[in-house]
Amino acid sequence: MASGPVGLPQPEAEDIKAVPVRHPGRWVASAVVLVIAVAAVRSVVTNQRFGWGHVGHYLFTSQVLHGVLVTLELTAGAQVLGVVLGVLLAVMRLSANPLISGAGWLYVWFFRGTPVLAQVLFWYNIAALYPVFHLGIPFGPSFISFNANSISAFLVLVLALGLNEGAYMSEIVRAGIISVDEGQNEAALSLGMTRLQTMRRIVLPQAMRVVIPPTGNETISMLKTTSLAFAVGTIADLLTTASRIYDNNFLVQPLLIVASLWYLAITSVLYVGQYYLERYYARGSSRELPLTPWQRVRRGIFSAQHDQIAMVPVAFERHEGGE
């Protein structure tokens, strides 16, 4: 036993084995939750009117599957349009030119301030306002013109939802951009990058960490907002398809459950996608990324064979290599 720097002996210490604090309140709360859960499950299973047999029957019919596909297409189209518009509007709002930033602000103000259902119905009836569209110079020649009635209802809905989404996405992207430290801008500029290169290569990739969680939220929200197709009536998305079926056979609840199960399933897949996207853009932000569930499983199997406990890799030593 060596003598310490202050001259005292430095004895070995034992691990602490303390009696943990008891939480009787938690036991009571757990019991209440359990009773409610059992009651709910029992009711759902035994109530014949849920029509679980019908749910199982309609879940994978080709008509419903087609509705799922249409819903996915609507979601993807509108969300992609929203993200592209959102980046554009965010950059506009950060512009030094008051006309450009003002135009961005006005767009966001308008589209966030009116109900999305009203916007969908407005665009769907746009032909009443502009029967024919002309693209050209004001008071000058027109280059392209097309009949407003020739645009499909599907495309109108994608445009309506995407234009609305752009307003929300722009706020999310703007928050991401201003969350990046100003020193990053200066470092990139001092290396001779132009402002566009700095935005594209340095600022936006770092903004992604802040942008992705709320964008995942928006995408999940968009998935369900596409059900506003119901108001238009001519697009066979998931919910409209379900309603068309129950209009004929009056199995309202089973078909709403079929639609809901699909919405839940797609949302769950989106969760997984978001998890991996977040992981990708988190690189460099923490010393060591946590394992994905899949990596955990594989590591668990591997170490079980060797009768060892699965170990998370040791966090990087900050002053490793000795400075």
Binding site: E186, A188, G192, Q197, G284, R287
Partner: protein, 254 residues
Amino acid sequence: MAEPMVRAESVHKRFGRLEVLRGITLEVGRGEVMCIIGPSGSGKSTFLRTINHLEKINRGRLWVDGSLVGYVQRGDRLHELHDREVARSRAEIGMVFQRFNLFPHKTALENVIEAPRLVRNVPKAQAIQEATDLLNRVGLSDKRDSYPSQLSGGQQQRVAIARALAMKPKLMLFDEPTSALDPELVGDVLDVMRDLARDGMTMVVVTHEMGFAREVADKLVFMDGGVIVEAGDPREVLSNPQHERTRAFLSKVL
């Protein structure tokens, strides 16, 4: 006489009503090391940032390697340079920041190759080769795949120096490069800077490291209140300051 690398003539800078630089006139010769010292708020960092046009000057003239910084003169009028032209002249001037400002989403190697690849279109293999040599030179060859968050402050600052050197600059600006470091890590960064000076790099260094200034600098400038109070040979200024203000400052830091 050869054109100096940096020539400042009565440089003024205002932030709103606040006059940060009130007439800075100086020259930095080729291969020279100039250290700028002074209390905080004296304008020394702002002046450094005007040299690569991160700050626009309001009055006076500033030349780097014979060309005006941020402007071009046609007749008797000054025209602002386009973003792309400013970028091109900045690419020739390296800068190292107090808070490192490494790109956190890129590894040490990626930090170093980013600008040569993007700005100079250097082929990838060549950029990686040069970056590896530079990381070697700053003593970090084993850290090329580490992210900044996995490096100590001193290691990050040496990567930042390698990143600036990757553009093969003709002038290096250092903005208090060791002020954010633990005392035991300062030495490694100063060693790298000392080597750089020995190799003939022209350097302007804003610093509080008086030992470094005394040993490495060819010129020492003491700034206060946006003006140069005293300038000259570092040993001379540090051991025998002529102005009361310089004496008061040095008595607190030495």
